[in-house]
Symmetry: C2
């Protein structure tokens, strides 16, 4: 994801001065391609660039690259701006913002709801959280990544973009698990599933996941775009937010239980559409 | 609904010879408007018309108009065709088909997923179940009701259209209950709900019910298009079908429990969007 974002920005005339990856070979290959420096230490990135994008897999990795001791992006960070694109627990974004500000830097949360190919095409869906002035200053850089800004939104304070992304995925997961039940029952009833999908698409049952996952559920094509494990994780983040607010969300909880079950069955790395393995007759997983 | 269907057919050049309603005044008023006969007995309708549309509120009413003794549409029904538009338990449609055939008549199930105004405009979404030959013979009559046939589908044997309608509503109800959770949590987190709905609409959280119910959930505008009681009933029909097939559908069951809860709180006559009363903070119903 980070590599394709760098390629896109380079193609739009922005100089890419430095790249870093925990896998050194990947960093060197990309650096050669982009005419950038492959850094072996995080602090070298901070020294070489004014604006630094970070894309890491999880909370722990984010805290590690913004470590308060040892090699860290925070070393010599005064005046730098960090744009943090990983999907993290909202409180981690706030922690990173505080650490960045303590080091004299600024940060922006830029949550993505998109695929790797969209990064290269510059059509990322970007939801930003942070200080509005920081967002406004970075708009020129973010627009070429987000279809000229059409897919760019300022959501609110740091952490709120991550909250909203968790909400998007929570609702998406519910709709996915619900669609799997509808198609599974249609299959059990012997209905023509192509016709069922057409009727769903023309009625109150229509949804984005019907378009993206409906046919895959029928065909058991679970090549991964967004994994079942990821779905379970994001629904879990949303449920934790709900718990903190004293809200009871039974659909979200039931959906998380279904994805947890799928993960427990060893299918966590399949696409979220694999939830249909729990609801179609004859797939052997329905209890 | 039946009155508007009759008005539409009349406007398209089909003669309406007879009308019947359990409320005599309604039948007389409509008969005067359409130049038809207001029947006081069901058998008069059968005597006066070749093709007879039925639109009743529930299973019991359907069995009553097709009673095997006493006044009934089945009296003198040889050669008649019945088009049954009520949403019923699938097995009732099969029972009516058997009774009609025993009387020398034919029947077609024509499930609707539409509103009363769409009947008048001739843009009903019609899902038909029955013998394919019966459907084909009636196509000329059904097309002016369904946007020239664009919204007309042959689903399969009698009862399968009702099954599919129950599935459509089951999935719609899940999506509605899930959306209410997403917007409720967004509200609890202090996010701008107009922005949240926009982001949902542009991402994997998008759905038809986001368009039809999202704003109403935020504004607590629960004027009834499709009642919460109806939602509970239809999810129940689908769950019964699943149970008969040995399928476990936890999302559908959780959704039905939410709608049952809403009905128990006395809100069954509100629109299905009222499910948000259970999930928004400060609305006093969240446990």
């Amino acid at each position: 994801m980070g590599a394709n974002m760098a390629r896109r920005l380079k193609s739009q005339g922005f100089p890419i001065t430095a790249v870093y990856d925990s896998n050194r070979e990947i960093a060197e290959s990309l650096a050669t391609e982009l005419g950038a420096k492959a850094c072996s230490r995080l602090a070298e990135v901070t020294a070489a660039a004014e604006i630094i994008f970070t894309v890491v897999p999880d909370d722990a990795a984010q805290l590690a690259i913004f470590a308060q001791t040892g090699d860290s992006l925070l070393q010599g960070a005064e005046g730098r701006v960090f744009i943090n694109c990983a999907t993290l627990t909202p409180s981690i974004h706030r922690e990173v913002e505080q650490r960045a500000e303590a080091a004299g830097a600024q940060s922006l949360e830029a949550c993505m709801a998109s695929s790797i190919s969209q990064a290269l095409e510059g059509t990322l869906y970007l939801m930003c959280g942070g200080k509005k002035a920081v967002f406004d200053d970075l708009r020129e850089l973010l627009e070429p990544l987000s279809d000229g800004g059409k897919l760019l939104s300022y959501i609110g304070a740091t952490g709120q973009a991550a909250q909203l992304k968790a909400l998007v995925n929570m609702v998406m997961n519910i709709n996915t698990a619900g669609l799997a039940e509808g198609l599974g029952l249609a299959s059990a009833l012997g209905l023509d599933l192509t016709m069922v999908r057409k009727v769903f698409s023309q009625t109150g049952a229509n949804s984005r996941v019907l378009v993206t996952d409906g046919e895959d559920m029928v065909n058991r094509d679970h090549a991964c775009y967004f994994s079942a494990a990821h779905a379970a994780k994001d629904s879990g983040i949303a449920l934790k937010l709900a718990q903190d607010k004293g809200l009871d969300l039974p659909l979200a909880a039931t959906t998380k239980a279904q994805y947890d079950k799928l993960v427990a069955l060893g299918f966590g790395q399949l696409d979220k559409s694999a939830i249909a393995e729990l609801t179609f007759p004859g797939r052997g997983k329905s209890s």
